[in-house]
Every structure is written in structure tokens, then in C-alpha cells.
Assembly symmetry: C2
DNA sequence: CTGTGTGCAAACTCTTTGCATAAGT
DNA sequence: ACTTATGCAAAGAGTTTGCACACAG
């Protein structure tokens, strides 16, 4: 799932985004390691850590640009933090409240059956299943 | 599903919450009209509107107390706002992004099949299915 | 009376925005 | 050069907290 710099630059251009230093660097962090779920702050931290001095505001802007371009999906899992998911295809999540951690549900399993009709004039945009976990006592 | 004042007072006491003016009033607003999904601000507005001068802080406190008492559930649907759901039993939701509106999925239908094993030492707390809707084009 | 609840305003967290500077094509 | 992106700091939204006063038991 990892992508070369050139590939990333092309992807950005196809999305109408100029491949700036920051965007390329952030895209590399996001897409180099397979599926990831992270908050803006997490990515900001990683960027700084790996020597790319982006501002947090730019990380937010960039994440939203990527989301609009269909490269990311927003994950509504918890009230305060917004998580971004690098896997834009249909899949579902475990959420561990104590650690604020999101884990993919293995695709093999879970299926949503017997989907009801949406109300008049509406269509399904997507379905999010969040399985909240707690530590066994 | 509507409840008398006395019934509400008893429910609060059973939960270890003193049935104060504000708590009784808020509980009546919450539970008088069947299943509801609302944000703290919505409830605050309704309270003021119906002549109960609670502060927003008290609404938040009260909503969390009710949640801890199992009378409400928190609904993770969208990044910014926290929705509280008066229906604490297992059921799922439509979410209409444009209007920030949450609607119950008729219980009859949808079922989640083939639930995968949670990771080691974890158990399922609950499952939230959010069906995001958009207007048909 | 005693202790818990409430209101207010201030603090906090996460996120967005405005504007001058910097970088991409 | 011309245009779009970035950084910073400040503003915004939603939520939480601390402390003095009010109320329930």
C-alpha cells in the first residue's frame, strides 16, 4: 500500500492539489504504512518528529483537502477528536474508549443485514459500524 | 413512554440523584415525548423556552449524570456536537449530515451479522451503526 | 442544619480563520 | 510573475470546572 514520491505527487495533482513540500510529506506519512486512523495532532506530531516543520493549522487544512479529494475519510467515533481514516473503502471499526484507539474490523467477518429503506428522497451515503470495546473484568 | 412527575422523581432517586427542580424539569423534557436525540444546547433551549431557567453548565452536568445512571446514551455521530439519546436499548441511526439530524432506524430491520472476535482481553460494550444519508440527486 | 446541586464566568480542548510571507508553476 | 499554500496567532465552537450561594432532605 506504500507509494513512491512520484506517485503521491501525481495523486495530488490529479486531485487539483499542488504537490507542495508539506502536502507530499504528510501524504507520505499517511499512506506509507497501510491503513491508519489518526487525529490531526497525531499527524502533526509525526511530521515534526520526522523533521517536517508543518504547523498544526496546515495539518488540519491538508487533512480536509485530502478528505475532499476522497483520499481520506472522517471517522465519527468519539465526541471531541476527529479521526481521519486512510482506508476509504467500506469497512468497520473497533474503538477502545480507554485509549482512544481505533482498530479495523477484519473485513472477512461482519456484515450488515436487512438494511431498512432510507426516508423519502434520501439515499445512503455510507454506513459506519463502531464496535465499542472495554477491558474484560 | 411519557412519565408522570412522581415516576420521574422516583427514577432519579433510584439512581441516587436528588430530584431537584432542574433535574425533574430536564427529565420531563427528555422523557415526555418518546425517543429523542438531542445536544445539550437543544435541551437548554427547550428548558428556557418552557420557563425553566437552567444554566447550560447544569444541562451538561445533568446530561452526564443521567448518562452515568443509564437513563441516556451518548451518540457518536459527528465530530463536534455530542448527542444524547433517550433510547438506551440496542438500536441504530440514520444521520442526515446537512441538517445534523438523527433518526432512529426502525428496529424491525437491520441486524449486524457475523460479529468478529474482539481482541484479547476485550469485550463488546456496544455497537453503533450510523447510516449516513444524503439527499438524492 | 448539612451536604449536595446550581449558576456564573472563566478555563480548556479541538478546530478554523485572517492576513502577511513563502513557495510552486 | 502570478497564484496558491503556509505559518502564526487569534478567534470560535462546544464542553468542563471552581467556587460562592441556594436548596433538598
Amino acid at each position: 500500500m506504500s507509494q513512491s514520491g512520484a506517485e503521491i505527487r501525481r495523486r495530488l495533482q490529479d486531485a487539483g492539489l499542488r504537490p507542495t513540500r508539506q502536502r507530499v510529506a504528510l501524504a507520505e506519512l499517511l499512506f506509507a504504512k497501510g491503513d491508519r486512523h489518526l487525529a490531526a495532532e497525531d499527524l502533526h506530531f509525526e511530521a515534526i518528529e520526522s523533521g517536517v516543520p508543518v504547523s498544526l493549522a496546515t495539518v488540519y487544512n491538508t487533512l480536509h483537502q485530502f478528505t475532499n479529494a476522497g483520499m481520506l475519510r472522517i471517522l465519527a467515533v468519539e465526541g471531541s477528536r476527529t479521526y481521519f481514516d486512510t482506508n476509504t473503502s467500506d469497512h468497520h471499526h473497533f474503538y477502545i474508549e480507554e485509549e482512544g484507539e481505533v482498530v479495523d474490523v477484519p473485513v472477512s467477518g461482519l456484515r450488515v443485514e436487512n438494511l431498512p429503506e432510507p426516508p423519502e428522497g434520501m439515499e445512503v451515503a455510507n454506513i459506519d459500524v463502531v464496535i465499542r470495546l472495554r477491558r474484560k473484568r
